[in-house]
Symmetry: C2
Subunit: 494 residues, 2 copies
């Protein structure tokens, strides 16, 4: 429907973004927040139409899309507020000691924006991780212009959101070029955007192959740039013996819900459940199977995702020694993902890397370990994950330190007696994890700490107070927290 | 003198480091600091011998080496203290809201160490950026074991420092493998260390070619890792018209000192001075030339560096339209760097990339721009820098916003009316800058914020208080700053 952007169009977009960057970064934090809140207003105005369009493009149900749009607006507000409160600026001031030998100069440091950020829309979150989503909100909060590469699976929704952002930009007197929206069905547009010299960072949520390619391009540039790719994960859940014994039924029911939530199309979907062979695990598997059999298959995001799920699910089910535990007994229509549970024993899992791969959809594999040592071995063999979960009693935790340390090594969020689906938008959230869950485990793509992905520190040495940014002036006119001669304070310098 | 480490030795070292990591990271911040302070004690015990050995290996004078060793000890102390005060942990707590729909879980986030860090000794800092230097101190502070690849130009000094660290480790009951020292004259040992699966980060200070190679290896691994390479810079100094008119003589004298400090062997050496053609600039050049002519040539670090200086200096001086302003008139002996100033006009500089390259040693190029617009053009054409300096009056600053923004874009530390040499060790320091000054402009290699290079966040969701790390417990037993429900506080949670 939309034409791919041409090289000329991309160059123009990037030149405008570069120019806008030099104006936007000089605007106050208040102006940035004003712009972000104005995007919220514009999105709210057309929320009904947005949801309707997204429904037509993605197969996602109305309630989910309404919730997701609300979350998108919440993120814009929350990251805007965080931008203004200024903790992310990491303001550090060391005042001069002129009579030291040699004299100690006055040095003041803060985060400044990196420059234009290219964001790739995510197929599974048409609002919250696409055009006005988390990466965009973080980049605007940091002081960076944003160039969106629309996801082709919801290009019209993306176009509508882009119009809302541009309207907000105009009303807030933002510079032309603060935001641009680009279409591209193939990989060429994405590559040109990542390789453009004015691009200073990239945000992406999607597949491993897509994210890794962007990461490689980012590193192969003459001037490498950070590429923050969130590439999904299988989110292992470790069932510890005492906990399993006490609550196999509740655990099974809770996980049947988590595995099939949103037709399993979340990057925090629990794709791997690891227990120790025995009666309790068998009861857990039986209950989980019964629950799954009763879950209605639903349409997946788009035919491509449904097809990929079918293929990967079939490949997984046909691996040596894998047996199918349960498949929904309810009728499956075209493009629907059919809830499925399979099982395999620990040693067969360990020796077959195919089983370590994500099956994006309502599928989970239960691993039957022969003992706790094998469970530790499984943990040690898993790749980096967004989340890991322990289902454990206090005794389980006290007795299994080695396992807990191994599980901690591989994840960004470590959950106890809960499910990994449901990613809270708050400052303490870590949505990121060791490679290949993301390309950079040191940053998060959910929560206001995500702003820091798009900033770098600069130190001002020996500057007159009047020429310093407000954030670093003696008077502390913005009233932000600053580390002054090693002490955190909001006090002015007198 | 020392044999290159074999693959077997490297594997053993890395396995020990991996094991030590799992013990060291569980030790308290207090234990970490104890270990770091104990390294200081051991270094002080043998300080005389260390300085003597470093003098014999590097040609650096006694006073400089004594100062550098003192700085090394200062860094270990300062980063240890910073580790304990816990700001770098970025502790964030959002408490549960069980009656929200859906319930909001308790989430608590903090930084945890990445794992074993490989550090490459720097040729120009045998103490402060080598074996017990800044990268090592930051890694220990973060909770990471360190593997040093000794710089072959001061391998014996490195060996002595390593013995001191190992002694301190033993006295502080650190796990075996917390520190290892490896020799390697060629690139093979370095490559194996960077590519080893247990290596989780790399620190390097040195040449562009060396650093870029490590960066590429780090990204080409199956699991990419961060490589923090500080690769030097030409540290441009912009002389603005009013300031130059008011103080060409003092400025010239100040810069003659900065250019030749330590035989120009600092990564913050001012290699480029940019002014506007005219009487004032001519007077500045004349005075600078006279000063430089009187500076005694001194021995460079080692014959290889002296040879490279000669070659690069000659290449630069023989470029089209470059004229030599001044060369020290004092006798030059073998392996000495001869203080030199050259000049070229703006357009010839802009069209010749050879002149944009660092000449590591006591050399600086004065660029004569035809007007302020050409000066802006020069700023826009420069690559990323560790520092940039403005010599400017208040009027100069007010009238030249475009220039100031362009200069800000390219540097990590932005200095006003001062010299770039002399890197203060303090929290507000930013020693890092856009590529190619470093491989990652978001981090610093001087100051306690450098600790954050070797850590990543983890979020604990729904954990019982007793199983949380002390840093995140309700009681706040360590008394550190934490962001509790969006407010910074040291208060416990009641």
């Amino acid at each position: 429907m939309y034409k791919d952007a041409t090289t000329e169009e991309i160059n123009e977009v990037m030149e405008n973004a570069w120019e806008a960057f030099h104006q936007y970064r000089k605007m106050s934090l208040k102006d940035r927040v004003g712009f972000m809140k104005s995007i919220c207003v514009e999105l709210e105005k057309i929320s009904e139409y947005l949801v309707r369009m997204a429904m037509s493009e993605t197969n996602l149900p109305e309630a989910r899309l309404k919730g997701e749009l609300a979350r998108t607006i919440f993120q814009l507000n929350q990251y805007g507020t965080a931008s203004e409160n200024g903790q992310w600026l990491e303001a550090r001031i060391d005042t001069a000691v002129p009579d030291r030998k040699p004299p100690k100069p006055d040095i003041r440091k803060m985060q400044i924006p990196l420059g234009p950020v290219v964001v790739f829309g995510a197929s599974n979150f048409p609002f919250a991780y696409s055009t006005a989503g988390g990466d965009t909100a973080c980049a605007f909060a940091a002081g960076c212009p944003v160039i969106i590469k629309a996801h082709p699976a919801h290009a019209q929704t993306s176009e509508m959101v882009a119009e809302a952002i541009l309207k907000a930009a105009e009303k807030s007197n933002m510079p032309k070029g603060i935001f641009a929206h680009v279409h591209g069905a193939g990989f060429e547009v994405g590559k040109q955007l990542v390789m453009h010299p004015y691009t200073k960072a990239v945000g992406f949520t999607g597949s491993f192959n897509g994210g890794k390619q962007l990461f490689d391009w980012g590193n192969q540039r003459k001037v490498p740039i950070p590429v923050f790719a969130e590439m999904g994960s299988i989110n292992p859940v470790f069932l510890l013996p005492e906990k399993l014994h006490q609550s196999y039924t509740e655990t099974a029911k809770m996980y049947a819900g988590s595995i099939t939530l949103g037709v399993g199309q979340f990057c925090t979907n629990p794709g791997l459940i690891i227990g120790i062979e025995g009666d309790d695990l068998q009861k857990f598997i039986t209950t989980l199977g019964k629950e799954i059999e009763q879950v209605t298959p639903e349409k997946m995001l788009h035919p491509g995702i449904a097809k990929a799920f079918d293929q990967k699910r079939n490949t997984a089910l046909h691996q040596n020694k894998v047996s199918t535990v349960a498949v929904s007994v309810l009728e499956k229509n075209e493009n629907e993902g059919i809830p499925t549970i399979a099982t395999v024993n620990g040693s067969d899992f360990l020796s077959n890397p195919v089983l370590h791969q994500e099956v994006f959809g309502p599928y989970s594999l239960v691993i039957r370990c022969k003992d706790i040592n094998e469970m530790v071995e499984v943990a040690n063999h898993l790749e980096g994950q967004l989340t890991s979960t322990l289902m454990a009693t206090e005794n389980d935790i006290e007795e299994n330190n080695e396992l807990i340390e191994a599980v901690k090594d591989i994840c960004g969020r470590f959950i106890l007696n809960n499910v990994p689906t449901g990613v809270e938008v708050c400052l303490s959230m870590q949505h990121g994890g060791p490679f290949p869950a993301t390309t950079d485990s040191r940053f998060t793509s959910v929560g206001a700490d995500g702003i820091k992905r798009f900033a770098r520190p600069i130190a001002f040495q020996n500057w007159n107070n009047q020429f310093l940014p407000d954030e670093l002036k003696n008077e502390n006119p913005l009233g932000i927290w600053r580390t002054l001669n090693d002490e955190l304070t909001k006090a002015p310098i007198v």
